[in-house]
């Protein structure tokens, strides 16, 4: 099927890409259904999370390990239970990226990870218990500063 996206026009997607956020995403609690899609021609680690309910809402996401290879998911057990995570292998982990006109200002949110359960496609934006992780971590691969 085809969906409309904020940035990439109409995109062909499958049901397997539909992610359900029961509690929404912080600041967007009313939006529940998102599609996780490849960013055309990005050849990279970035994906686009497009709201199905509101075409204007979409996020660039990246796996946090791309930015911080030793990133550890430390969240409340209840957050994992909400999306029925039974084992670590169920987890698909993303962080929301904020892009600016000046790329040196780009940031990635390591404190509020998006956790997706691969088995049932339920998702949650959790808050890391490790407050050393920043909401605005520089979007730079380690060692390239």
């Amino acid at each position: 099927m085809k969906i409309k996206t904020k940035i990439f026009g109409e995109v062909e997607v499958s049901e397997k890409q539909r992610i359900y956020f029961e509690s929404g995403i912080l600041g967007f609690e009313d939006l529940h259904s998102f599609f996780l899609i490849d960013i055309p021609d990005s050849n990279g680690p970035f994906y686009w999370l497009q709201s199905e309910e509101s075409i204007d809402i979409g996020f660039v996401v990246i796996t946090p390990e791309t930015i911080m290879p030793d990133y550890k998911l430390e969240v409340e057990k209840s957050d994992l239970e909400k999306i029925d995570i039974k084992s670590e292998s169920d987890i698909l982990l993303f962080s929301i990226v904020t892009l600016y006109e000046d790329p040196s200002k780009n940031t990635v949110n390591l404190l509020g990870p998006i956790i997706i359960n691969k088995r049932n496609l339920k998702a949650i934006q959790a808050i890391s218990l490790n407050e050393n992780y920043s909401v605005r971590h520089p979007l730079i691969k380690r060692g390239e500063q």
Binding site: I7, G27, F46, F59, K77, S78, I96, L99, N109, E131
Partner: protein, 77 residues
């Protein structure tokens, strides 16, 4: 908003199983202890707001910025 006066080491119960204790007061710094069931999330309010604000900023992405996204994390040549 309900406002209660408490001294050091005094507590407030919220329902049957959430206990909030004033652990210490030093100048303008108050240490608060919280006993709550594991399914009750306790975070400093600023953290919630920070993440909400970051999310709202993230959706304002300029389509032109995304066009170059493929080159963002490439090593400089």
């Amino acid at each position: 908003m309900l406002i209660l006066s408490r001294k050091e080491n005094q507590s407030i119960m919220i329902g049957d199983n959430i206990e909030i204790t004033i652990v210490s007061i030093k100048g303008d710094h108050v240490k608060i202890g919280i006993n709550a069931p594991t399914d009750v999330k306790v975070f400093r309010k600023e953290i919630f707001e920070e993440i909400q604000n970051a999310n709202k900023e993230a959706v304002n992405v300029d389509p032109n910025t995304i066009k170059d996204i493929g080159s963002l994390l490439k090593k400089k040549e």
